[in-house]
Each structure stands twice: as C-alpha cells, then as structure tokens.
C-alpha cells in the first residue's frame, strides 16, 4: 500500500504546506484551466517552469512526482499505438513494410504526455501539501456561495472527510478478513473461476456487513454528540488568508491570463 504516490499527503515543512487550502485549490483550478489552452510549446514551457517552482518550494522530491506519473505510462504507450494507427499527417518518420508512422502521431502523443505531466505536477502540488481535512474545509468554504442555489456545501464536505477517514480502516479490515478466510482454506490467488467467485464473495459480504455496522455506529456517535446537518456550526480551525496566499492567487491568475493571451495570439 505504501507505493501509491498520486494524491497522497506528504508531511513536510514548507511554505506551500502552510498556505491556505482555499488559495491552493483556486490557484490549482486556474492553472489547470490554463493547461487546456492550446498555447503551444512556449506556453507549456512557462507552465512547466511555474509548476516546477511550486514543487521546489514545497520541498517534494522529483522521485515522488515520477512515482505519481508512473501509472500513466501504460496509458501513454497505448495512446501512442492508437495515434500511430490513426494519424496519417506530416512527414513519415519510419516504415515497417507497408505500415508507416507519421511525425504528427508522435507529436500528438507527446503533446498529451506533456499535458498529463503538467496536470499531475499541478494537482500533486495541492494534494501532497494539504492535509485531507484541510482540503475538505477549503472545499466547504469555496462551496459556501453556492448554498444560495441549494448546494449542500457542509454536507458535501462532511461526506468527503468521512470517506477519507474510513479508507485506512477499510484497508485494514479487508486484510483482516482476507487472513481469516485464508485460514479457512480460501485461496485468493489460484483456483477455478467458480472458486474464485466464492473466494471474493467470502471477502465482500463480511466487508459490507462491517462497513454498514461502522456507518451506523458513527451516525449514532455523531447524533449522540448533537450533530445536526444543516444547523450552523462553529469551527475549531478557522481558515485565514495571509499575504502569501494572495500572492499565490495573483501569480496563478497572471500565468493563466498570460497563457490565454499567448494561445489567442497563436
């Protein structure tokens, strides 16, 4: 389980870690939109530089970004193959028998690869530097204005934080049940299809039972402490924007507008 890098929080002591989650979420959204402008290689170079600077500031290692990117490689290879089959424009790069690969096929794949890399770098800047709980607080605050059109901001944030909170528990529970069923002779690796289905069933049924049990316990515990959805609540942790947060937002806006102008000019 320790190998998943994408979306994981890395506790470090950096400026980016200390920034307000709302500022980080907004900045990320703005720059992500900029990634989708067709701004050409110069625009991507600018975005790459900006994202690299953020990663440098957040003290994350290059290896971590690489590990987050790695699962995407298979997809990119697949994409390259499809592009090679479909795209027939530009000069021919090389031919195998009657089959030729064109330059545009490779360029287009590279284009998507760069965009993907940028997106992963930018989102990682947010997810790796923001505690899940802070993130939900930020989301809740950002959704507040939409409460006027009946978006249940607080409930959405509560749902997300509860879901996040239970992920490690459910992983533990799954491993526990797996061991218990293996002790009863279940073989999760080998066996015929019918045995495999039975094996998975012996895992899923107890997992669901205990998940529902936990949900019910949690609901009771929350109600026992007077939790009422929709009622106004005070907060232990109050988010506050500081100077650096405004600077981040300004930088994100300038970058996005700049890229937009560049895309329009091209």
């Amino acid at each position: 389980m320790g190998s998943i890098a994408l979306g994981r929080y890395i506790p470090l002591d950096s400026v980016v870690h200390k920034m307000d989650p709302r500022a980080k979420i907004m900045a990320m959204l703005i720059v992500l939109i900029a990634v989708f402008f067709p701004s050409g290689w110069i625009g991507y170079a600018v975005l790459f530089a900006a994202a690299s600077l953020m990663i440098l500031l957040s003290k994350l290692s290059v290896g971590f970004i690489w590990r987050a990117m790695r699962p995407m490689l298979i997809m990119l290879v697949f994409l390259l193959v499809i592009n090679a089959l479909v795209v027939h424009t530009g000069p021919v790069l090389f031919s195998i028998g009657s089959f030729s690969v064109y330059l545009d096929a490779v360029l287009q794949t590279l284009y998507i690869a760069v965009r993907l890399l940028l997106m992963i770098m930018i989102t990682t800047c947010l997810t790796a530097t923001t505690k899940p709980l802070d993130m939900t607080l930020g989301i809740e605050d950002l959704l507040k204005p939409f409460e006027k059109i009946h978006v249940p901001a607080h409930e959405i944030a509560m749902l997300i934080s509860i879901a996040l909170r239970f992920i490690p528990d459910l992983i533990d529970e799954t491993q526990r049940i797996m061991k218990a069923q293996e002790s009863r002779g279940v073989d999760l690796q080998e066996g015929k299809l019918k045995e495999k289905i039975q094996a998975i069933l012996s895992l899923i049924v107890p997992l669901f039972v205990s998940a529902f049990q936990r949900a019910e316990d949690l609901a009771n515990a929350m109600e026992a402490r007077g939790y009422m959805p929709g009622e106004p609540r005070t907060r232990y942790k109050v988010l506050k924007m500081a100077g650096r947060d405004y600077i981040l937002l300004a930088c994100a806006l300038i970058t996005a507008v700049g890229i937009g102008v560049l895309a329009w000019a091209v």
Binding site: I177, S183, G185
Partner: protein, 286 residues
C-alpha cells in the same frame, strides 16, 4: 514433532520509514497435546507470533517447524493450504468472517475448501456446531441475524469443522460474558483432553490461564520473556509481577493470607479447595 521457532524474526514494512520489528529472534518450543497460553501486553507481538503457525505470516528471518513441515525465511513455502487445514486459526472477533446464507453452510465452508464432499462437510459442520452448543434449530438461519455470542460460536465451529490437529485462538473470549467465557474455555479444554488437540490460546485473562492451561508463554517486545508450566509460573507472585502479569485472584488471596501468617499449603488451585482448607483450619482451631 513439536512446534518450534528457531531464531525467528518478523519485520513489517521492511525498508520503509514505517519498519517495525514485531518478532525479534524468537526461539520457542511448544509440546504437542498441551494447552498453552500466550500472554503479553498489547503490541507485544502475540498476534504476529500465532499467525506464523499457519503461515499467514512468513518469517523474515529464521525457521518455523510445525507438524513435520519446515517454513524457512529463505525458501519459497510449499503445502501452505494443507498446513492451514492442520492448524486451525481463530482470529480475534471471528464473527466478522461469517458470510454464507445459513449457519450450516458457513460452518461447512472450511471443510469444503479442504476437499471434503458436501455431505462430509455438513456432517462435520453439524458435529462442530454441536460441540460449540449451537442446536439444529439454528442450522437454516442466517448467521448475520444471530446474537454476538452465538455468532462467535458459529465462527469457532467453522474452524473446528476443519478438524485441525492444532487449534490456535486469538483472544477467543474477548467481549463474552462470564458464563460464555467459562463455557468456551471448558470446550477448548475438552478438545485438548478428549480429542488430544494441541491448543494455543492468546489471552489477557489470567484466571482462565491458571484454571485451564498447562503452559504459559510470556511475550514482551517481540521476544519470549518466559516459558513455564502455568502451575509453577503462578506460584511465584514476584515472577508474575516482574513479567507484568497480574496473578489470578485466588493466588493473590493465598499470598495475602500467607502475609497475615496463615500457613496456606502450595497446590491449592480452585476456590473450592481453598474454602475446604479454610473450613478445616477453622474447625481445628475452633
């Protein structure tokens, strides 16, 4: 062939910042046919230790010998499935592993996995359910609608139905009421004495250890701190304290009486015996 650990270590998440050595060069021998208690504080490595017995966990270093099989840290293990049939492991709160539609089906699940025919598996399941005190009226009920104690019995029956030679139980009586605890412990003792099963039981309840177990193994910080027959172990209150184990109340009472100058003889192991001795003393001095 007894069960033996030779220089066994188990390290979780080796090579990461979360690395944790749960077993630290453990040497251990457990005699077949005995009922042995594994005691120790939370996080001492008890559960890790017992999970090596049916190869759910494999040693990171060292060798485990169990029922003529050798599990070595450096060799790829074989015959794991047959080992799991021979060593029945009951986890903590085993009621969470129930999943079939009926009690009988769930209990027969284990034996079926180990190659029994449906008829044979159900026959064994019925025997096991009878042992744990679940009557035929429950056979066709869903295991999920039983009470907590009944679920526990069904889950334990599910392991007993596999007819293992060694029965390993990780805190089997946690959360049961005193009557339920006593009847469970009596059942394990019966399996040990009448059916000659080797029983290993992880527990915090020293009263039960003193009353039902032959041997005590004290685990501390991933090491075996002490191993002795339970009668000898509990005789020495100082040793118990040193091991961080609270002696059973009967032993503490005897100790207290000796401090007050009563010549309580050694070898009194039940409340009835002590009561008889006191009655005798009162009569003699009356």
């Amino acid at each position: 062939m007894p069960i033996a650990f030779k220089d066994v270590s188990h390290v979780y998440s080796a090579g990461t910042p979360y690395e944790y050595r749960a077993l630290d060069h453990v040497d251990l021998e457990i005699q077949e046919g005995k009922m042995t208690a594994v005691v120790g504080q939370t996080g001492s490595g008890k559960s890790t230790l017992v999970q090596h017995l049916n190869a759910l966990l494999l040693p990171t270093e060292g060798t485990v010998y169990i029922l003529d099989r050798t599990i070595d840290a450096n060799k790829k293990p074989k015959q794991l499935k047959s080992l799991r049939g021979d060593v029945g492991l009951v986890f903590q709160f085993p009621e969470y592993q129930l999943f079939e539609e009926t009690v009988l089906k769930d209990t027969a699940f284990g034996p079926k996995n180990f190659g029994c025919t449906v008829e044979e598996a159900e026959k064994r399941a019925k025997q096991a359910l009878q042992l744990t005190g679940i009557g035929p009226e429950y056979y066709e009920r869903s295991p999920l609608e039983l009470s907590g104690g009944q679920k526990r019995r069904v889950a334990i029956a599910g392991i007993l139905a596999m007819d293992p030679r060694v029965l390993v139980l990780d805190e089997p009586t946690a959360g049961l009421d005193p009557a339920g605890t006593a009847s469970m412990m009596k059942l394990f003792r019966r399996l040990n004495q009448e059916l000659h099963k080797t029983v290993l039981i992880v527990t915090h309840d020293m009263e039960q250890v003193y009353r039902y177990c032959d041997e005590v193994i004290v685990v501390h910080d991933g090491k075996i701190r002490h191993q002795e027959s339970s009668a000898e172990f509990f005789k020495d209150a100082h040793l118990c304290n040193e091991m961080g184990v609270l002696p059973p109340s009967l032993i503490r009472l005897e100790e207290m009486m000796r401090e007050f100058g009563f010549a309580v003889p050694q070898g009194i192991v039940t409340e009835e015996q002590l009561a008889q001795w006191i009655a005798q003393e009162v009569k003699n001095h009356g």
